[in-house]
């Protein structure tokens, strides 16, 4: 990974000093062992801080919205899964291709600090990864963990190492984590529950929400100029957990609005401070779209119309969908 980071720094410096791009979106080193932050670099000198390791999970594609608005040609480092997000933004006409310089960046799966902490590790001072082993040094001692055990959930649904969009690539492609079985297994488990159980599950799950809106703000498909839940004129208590129905509505509409556009990057679930299983709602829509309208992967290109903006004359009737799985 260090080699890749060096190549990235070099590339970023080249692009900036040649004037090919005006800014570079990448990651900057933090103060802790794992807190690399997405950052925008505007000068070759600043790129000294550019870093890349197993703690760069953030999908940078959303920063292209601001780049387009400011009309700044932006080089963006994209892991294979992040490239789907860029395509979706291009397809939604929210990002202009002329402002994007996409750089495919190899990835072997990102690590989840929450999972590392769940092993009882506190006071972490250093984390090193080599050959499938994550060594965590803390003020209380050192422990080795198998890498696969502490991969982010989204990396266990990895879509592979191919870039869907890239103007150039950094280094050689790396082997991405083997995806964990059926992506829809969790959705199917819930579908199999009786309706009352499903209702209870979601009430409990969504009641954890504190309405920080991070799921919406990080999503490359959530790109409205103003969100309906931010509109003070709309009769929604957008800021607060005021009523359970309101929560349900926020989450249902959030997932619904990206149905057919959700690229499955898993960022919503990753950023949720409360650990709400948000990805399940998106996966349910993906599964339904696949079942009703044929297999579809949002973001695999920038042209195929999304299932929600197209139709066939023989589409399934809503009543049939409502009946499915009802006990």
């Amino acid at each position: 990974m260090q080699k890749i980071a060096a190549l990235m720094r070099q590339k970023a410096q080249e692009l900036l000093s040649s004037g090919q791009v005006q800014q570079v979106a990448a990651w900057r080193k933090g103060q802790l062992a794992y807190d690399n932050a997405p950052a925008v670099f505007t000068s070759p000198e600043a790129c000294a801080d550019l870093v890349y390791d197993e703690f760069c999970p953030a999908n940078l594609s959303k920063y292209l919205l601001a780049a387009t608005k400011k009309k700044l040609k932006t080089a963006v480092f994209l892991k294979p899964c992040d490239t789907y997000g860029v395509n979706q933004l291009l397809k939604d006409n929210r990002v202009q291709r002329e402002y994007v310089y996409a750089i495919g960046t190899p990835c072997q799966g990102m690590l989840d600090i929450k999972k590392i902490r769940a092993h009882g590790l506190k006071g972490i001072t250093r984390i090193t990864v080599s050959e499938g082993v994550v060594q965590v040094e803390t003020v209380y001692g050192t422990q080795n963990l198998p890498q696969r055990d502490v991969l982010l959930d989204k990396c266990l649904q990895c879509k592979g190492n191919a870039y869907m969009i890239a103007d150039t690539e950094i280094g050689e492609k790396l082997a991405t984590p083997e995806p964990r079985g059926d992506a829809f297994a969790a959705v199917k488990r819930i579908e199999a529950l009786p309706p009352e159980e499903r209702f209870k599950f979601w009430q409990q799950e969504l009641s954890k929400c504190i309405r920080c809106n991070a799921c919406r703000d990080i999503c490359p498909a959530c790109s409205c100029e103003q969100c309906i839940f931010d509109n003070p004129a709309a009769p929604v208590a957008g800021k607060a957990f005021a009523d359970p129905v309101e929560e349900n509505m926020f989450h249902l509409i959030r997932a619904y609005h990206v149905a057919g556009r959700c690229v499955g990057c898993g960022e919503c679930a990753r950023v949720c401070p409360q650990g709400v299983k948000l990805g399940l709602l998106n996966l349910k829509f993906m599964k339904d779209i696949n079942t009703f309208y044929g297999p579809y992967q949002a973001g695999s290109d920038a042209t195929t119309p999304a299932p929600q903006v197209t139709f066939t004359q023989g589409d399934v009737e809503p009543s049939a969908a409502g009946q499915k799985g009802r006990s």
């Binding site: 103060q31 997405p38 925008v40 920063y63 920080c212 809106n213 990080i218 800021k239």
Partner: protein, 346 residues
């Protein structure tokens, strides 16, 4: 000082719950947070930083303020009753307790926030020393001592014993009611507690942020800080979610809204607000802070400059490190303060 052995803790929780609604750190779905105690609660006294701060105990995320019943031109107002239930919070860490002293400055100053005051006065706070501080902790930056947490009662967990010391009248009253459960601690015990205190302070100094200091100079250069060029660099990747403000023990902004229900019934409630929100302090002419940069700057100006200006140099931060843990893009007050100090050469 008193002590109580681990085997007796369930009895202790029960006894405390009899005196008021008991809140303590509980493990739910792999996450530790303060929760009302029930018989089957998995109490977690080892995790130093709960996911959210305890501020919602006194400053609820959503709180009804009053109710209206309108019919034609008539409006009948029913004020919301002040909360009267006694509460006890056990296992509160030094940083959260320090957070309350900061909230007190805001809510207990005239005009007093009666809801906050009622809840605050009805609550007995039992502090717990941090046996295992985490890498995100930096309370020592603000001279908060994680080894003697304060509160009405403060406690230490050493091996399988909980050591108990009341510090206020309220604490003594509660301690007196628990006499049957508590045994007098010996001089040996006092040594054990002292040893733990030393160890906690040592551990804290070894942590990555152990030697962190925030420069008091920041508050003296309001204009320079406000106009610093680092805001653009720092705010460029902030998502404007309000995670940091909601978990923060010292963020205290709120919004007041009306909910119009059926048949002319209206509920006026307040809810947490965040300077990260697009409609924060929105006025008739629009939002005074138009973009990402202004909103981001507002949060840190408030914590690092405006608050110290208003309250004798006190930063509106207690170093609990929750914003370091929650931020989806790893931005936080430490990074901001450091960048500013470099930029302003202070």
């Amino acid at each position: 000082m008193f002590k109580i052995a681990k085997a007796k803790w369930p009895e202790l929780w029960q006894a405390l719950a009899r005196e008021g609604q008991l809140y303590l750190p509980a493990l739910v779905d792999g996450k530790t947070d303060f929760a009302p105690w029930q018989k089957d609660t998995k109490v977690d006294l080892l995790t130093a930083v709960t996911a959210k701060s305890l501020k919602q105990l006194f400053f609820a995320q959503v709180e009804p303020l009053m109710h209206f019943q309108t019919s034609g031109k008539k409006v009948a107002v029913t004020p919301q009753e002040l909360p009267a239930q006694p509460t006890i919070a056990f296992g509160v860490r030094a940083c959260d307790l320090a957070g309350f002293t900061i909230l007190d400055k805001v809510f207990l100053k005239e005009p007093v926030d009666t809801f906050y005051r009622a809840r605050r006065e009805n609550c007995t706070l039992i502090g717990l020393a941090c046996g295992f501080p985490e890498e995100t902790c930096f309370c020592q930056t603000f001279n908060i001592d994680a080894a003697s947490p304060a509160g009405d009662i403060q406690t230490w967990l050493v091996w399988d014993n909980l050591y108990w010391e009341s510090r206020t009248g309220k604490g003594q009253q509660l301690t007196a009611k628990l006499a049957a459960l508590l045994t007098e601690a010996t001089a040996e015990d006092a040594k054990l507690v002292q040893a733990q205190q030393t160890k906690i302070r040592e551990t804290l100094s070894k942590l990555p942020l152990g030697r962190l200091r925030f420069s008091p100079e920041l508050a003296k250069h309001e204009q320079e800080v406000f106009n610093s060029k680092v805001w653009e660099k720092l705010s460029a990747t902030c998502l404007s979610c309000c995670g940091c403000t909601y978990v923060c023990p010292t963020c205290h902004c709120y919004d007041v809204r009306d909910y119009a229900g059926k048949d002319g019934a209206v509920e006026r409630f307040r809810c947490w607000d965040s300077c990260m929100n697009g409609d924060f302090t929105k006025m008739a002419h629009g939002n005074p802070r138009k973009g990402q940069l202004e909103r981001f700057r507002q949060r840190y100006m408030h914590k690092l400059v405006y608050f110290p200006e208003d309250y004798e140099g006190t930063f509106a931060c207690v170093g609990c490190g929750r914003c370091l843990r929650i931020c989806p893009v790893n931005l936080n007050i430490v990074k901001v303060a450091k960048e500013l100090e470099v930029d302003l050469h202070v």
